[in-house]
């Protein structure tokens, strides 16, 4: 509240959904892993590894429980070059959204590649994880960069 020459009372109003979400047993471990700078995929009954992990297998609906380390390197399966990022997006300079298949994982997942310029992007290129200075257990703790 501010009280200046204008005596009317004001209060901030932020439109938001003020719910807290429970991550559940499997995603809870996945995000705790990110806080510890480790990427975990979910092992399926056939031995393949799902990334990002899910509590239930999207094909068989079987409950999944076992998490295994994947990455930090991987291969770009597809990419889209964002030359004019919007204010909500994770980087304030041009970047790529990419489908990245991490080493040890059998599915690609959507993330961000900070490649500098479009000519540095290529389908099939290798990228590796770059961690934010302070990992907080969120998907945004990660960015990918072209492997040196």
């Amino acid at each position: 509240m501010s009280q200046g020459t204008d005596a009317s009372l004001t209060a901030p109003h932020t439109l938001s959904y003020t719910y807290k979400r429970s991550l559940g047993p499997l995603l809870g471990r996945f995000f705790t892993g990110l806080r510890d700078r480790q990427i975990l995929g979910a092992k399926r009954a056939d031995g393949s590894v799902l990334m990002p992990p899910k509590e239930y297998d999207p094909d068989t609906s079987a409950a999944l429980d076992e998490l295994v380390p994947v990455g930090p390197g991987g291969v770009v399966k597809s990419w889209a070059w964002v030359s004019a990022p919007r204010k909500q997006q994770p980087l304030d300079r041009a970047f790529a959204y990419a489908l990245v298949q991490l080493d040890g994982a059998d599915t690609a997942f959507l993330h961000v590649v900070d490649a500098g310029e479009e000519s540095a992007m290529q389908t099939g290129m290798r990228v590796t994880a770059r961690w934010s200075d302070e990992a907080t257990g969120q998907i945004t703790d990660l960015t990918f960069i072209p492997e040196a």
Binding site: L23, A80, W81, R86, Y97, I139
Partner: protein, 350 residues
């Protein structure tokens, strides 16, 4: 199964921005036109179902206001889906199949111009592992387009040709937003919007509404001289994560098409709701359409994409071509979710 038909259809003009009208005000003349065309009154309606999205309006239960356009009397048996109106039509069709209604009003409406639509669409993605990265709708579609191009599934020339075809057809559609004679070479020399998609590959952002009147066989003749009978309708959803799907085909369209019986006879007209040119090609293939089918005579979603109303409008457009005698058998398609995650297929006959 009960015979159920589309006996009336109306829609607003698709506009990039409805400056002076809210959703109810967009809807009122659309429903009025439907009343005048079919002669229905509120006493005829045994079920009312709408499709819209609170995320576009930015407030909970925003769809309730839409009912103001239907009228307050007599009280209605009403439902709503947080989906395109095509899925509201599916619910109404089920209601009629169950014997709970003979006449149902279905409508869809959306005013995406109130926000930044490509960013709003990020809210439909996995809230934990994907949405916090705010992948906009164009970028997500671009990931799929590159998979199609890299995989040799299609060329960017074919994508441009789909856009040129639709927008040429749209010249005869007074409700279309983007219409005209474009040229493939010119389009291919345009810069990328989000590489590998150019602006022409994307549907416009449109405000608008559409409405359909459904009736069972014992009432259809009261409203239409030539009802468009729904001979098959099915919708199928694929898993949530993009990485577990084959994005270079539309498996859910294929399954829905088979269950709806698309291949059981010649299809004269197909109305597709794919919001990106490469997706239109995937849907066309998923439906198994041949050269004897006229695709998107209205221009489809690439000519006007009133979110939450566009799929229902495809059913209405296909039905209208049966009712006016242009077509004997038609198929309509609606989609929902990123990269054609969920698809609805509806087969109509005269």
């Amino acid at each position: 199964m009960r015979d159920v038909a589309v006996v009336g259809f109306s829609q607003s003009v698709s506009l990039r921005r409805e400056r002076n009208r809210n959703e109810v005000e967009i809807l009122i003349p659309v429903l009025q036109e439907l009343r005048e065309a079919t002669g229905y009154t509120n006493e005829d309606l045994e079920f009312v179902c709408s499709g819209s999205s609170d995320y576009l309006a930015g407030q909970a239960f925003a769809f309730v206001a839409g009912l103001d356009a239907v009228g307050a009397w007599p009280p209605v048996c009403e439902s709503h889906v947080e989906m395109d109106g095509a899925w509201a039509l599916y619910e109404a069709w089920v209601k009629i199949q169950m014997g709970y209604a003979d006449v149902a009003l279905v409508y869809g409406f959306g005013k995406p111009s109130m926000g930044d639509l490509p960013i709003t669409m990020a809210l439909q993605l996995d809230p934990y592992t994907v949405m916090p990265l705010w992948p906009d709708a164009i970028s997500v579609a671009a990931l799929q387009a590159r998979l199609c191009l890299d995989g040799g599934v299609m060329t960017d020339r074919q994508m441009a040709e789909a856009a040129v075809r639709d927008r040429a057809h749209a010249k005869s559609n007074p409700h279309a937003q983007v219409a005209g004679d474009f040229d493939v070479e010119g389009i291919l020399s345009e810069p990328y919007l989000v590489s590998p998609l150019r602006k022409h590959d994307c549907s416009p952002i449109s405000d608008g509404a559409s409405a359909v009147l459904l009736a069972s066989s014992n009432r259809a003749g009261d409203f239409s001289k030539r009802p468009a009978w729904i001979r098959g309708i099915e919708h199928i959803c694929e898993p949530q994560d993009l990485g577990v799907r084959d994005l270079t085909r539309s498996r859910s369209t294929e399954i829905a098409a088979e269950k709806a019986g698309v291949g059981a006879g010649r299809i004269d007209v197909a109305e597709l709701s794919a919001p990106f040119s490469h997706q239109e090609i995937l849907v066309e293939r998923g439906l198994g359409l041949g050269a004897d089918t006229t695709v998107n005579p209205s221009g489809g979603a690439l000519a006007g994409n009133p979110l939450m109303a566009v799929g229902l409008a495809r059913i209405g457009e296909a039905a209208a071509r049966i009712t006016n005698g242009e077509a004997e058998r038609a198929v309509a398609h609606a989609t929902s979710g990123p990269c054609l995650q969920q698809n609805l297929v509806c087969v109509l006959e005269g």
